[in-house]
Amino acid sequence: MKKRYIVIGLLASSLASFAQRPDSTYKKRKLSTTDVQIIMSYYTQDNDHSAVTGGLGTEDLQVYATQIAVDHQRDSSNSFHFDAGLDIISSASTDNIDFVKSSASKIDARTHVNTGYNRKFKKKSISAGASGSFSIESDYTSVGGALYFSRLNPSQSREISMSLQMFFDDLRWGRLHDGHPEKLIYPVELRNKEWFDHYRRDSYNLELGYFRIINKRMSLGIYPGVAYQSGLLSTPFHRVYFSDSVRRVENLPLSRVKFPVGIQLNTFLGGRWIARTYYRFYWDDFGVVGHTLNLEGAYKMSRVFTITPSIRIYAQTEADYFKEYRQHKGAEEFYTSDYDLSRFTSLKPGLGIRYAPYSGKDRTTFNAIELRYAFYLRSDGMAAHMVTLFINYSQEKKKNGGNNMPRQ
């Protein structure tokens, strides 16, 4: 009997010693996080089907792109986003518009900025945000805006999301050089008349998302969407050669409706392999039907190195308005020889390597450095190479006087 009292007494005293006591020095500390991402990439392509020269001519193109994105999470509710980038474009086909206006554009530049704000509402696990964007190149100015909404279920295993993106584009040439857009630029020999009486293109993209955790190793995302474009969908410096030797500027309908739906299934297989599977079905009222299958297998070579071989297979039908060089008939209302709208299949094998070092408390280091290479081959003969370097760094800051520390 005595023993029992001793055991109970010991248990009670041990529990009392481990029990939490009010800490008069405790202060609620907030964490702010800043995440910086830098992307540098190089793209080169070549083929002999340029739309500038009516489906026959060089498509030699090189793009050097740099982008920096900063996400700052001020506290658990408010976060801000900013990204900006510069693409340097060297295009041989653009030089075939003429030898005055577009010669300077043999080396062109595209500058773009995008900024946004997102707020989390704790009670219902709802996030909502808005963003604005601007981009400019010699033949194009675009102002955009977007609204985002998402909601997590209480167990955080399902998320529904919605985003609405809007782009308002001006296709007049010249704003990049002297700040004043002049007019649409047509091929040099087709400037005897104004082919179009409008120069704006508006785009609205509505995308829905349903994300679901299937089990401890598998997640599924379904992304249906609808996009509507209106205005000048033709590119004013694309030539079309007709069978009777007549030459005109490309002419496409004034509106386009697109319906894509994507499904992504990610699975952690065993201890080292992750399979990323993505399929997209696409339909639009130009007559393009597309199927995309992307398979990636991320293999964790060690705790810090991941290697990702991938293969992407794509097939599309041709748009109703596409015909090759000198295949269009004079009576047609809409016509293009842009091979991006032709029937083709493409294959893109790729390989990525990611180094994600462990960042200690008192060290400043990158979260991750990633290098990817992909080769793109289209059945019409286009071959392209893409190299991308991605660098990511995050820092957490304790708001009430704590130390700054990089985040793993």
Partner: protein
């Protein structure tokens, strides 16, 4: 034939969703891995943009984030 495939796929997805298990936040070691992120994280974004320019289709979880014609 295509409609049949779509219906079969929809039924398959429905049954796979109905078989989902509850996963607690502390059981998400694998799900929280960087490579398990939905969408196109990291360097994949640039390739998505190129493909949107060079192909007739776009969207479905890979929307573009800024305007641009890609008309070269």
């Amino acid at each position: 034939m295509k409609l049949k495939i779509l219906i079969i796929a929809a039924i398959g997805i429905f049954f796979s969703l109905s078989g989902c298990e509850s996963v607690k936040p502390y059981q998400r070691k694998y799900l929280n891995d960087y490579e398990m992120k939905p969408g196109q994280p990291g360097s994949r974004r640039f390739e998505e943009q190129v493909q949107a320019y060079r192909e007739g289709s776009s969207g479905g979880g890979s929307s573009k984030s800024s305007g641009g014609c890609g008309c070269n």
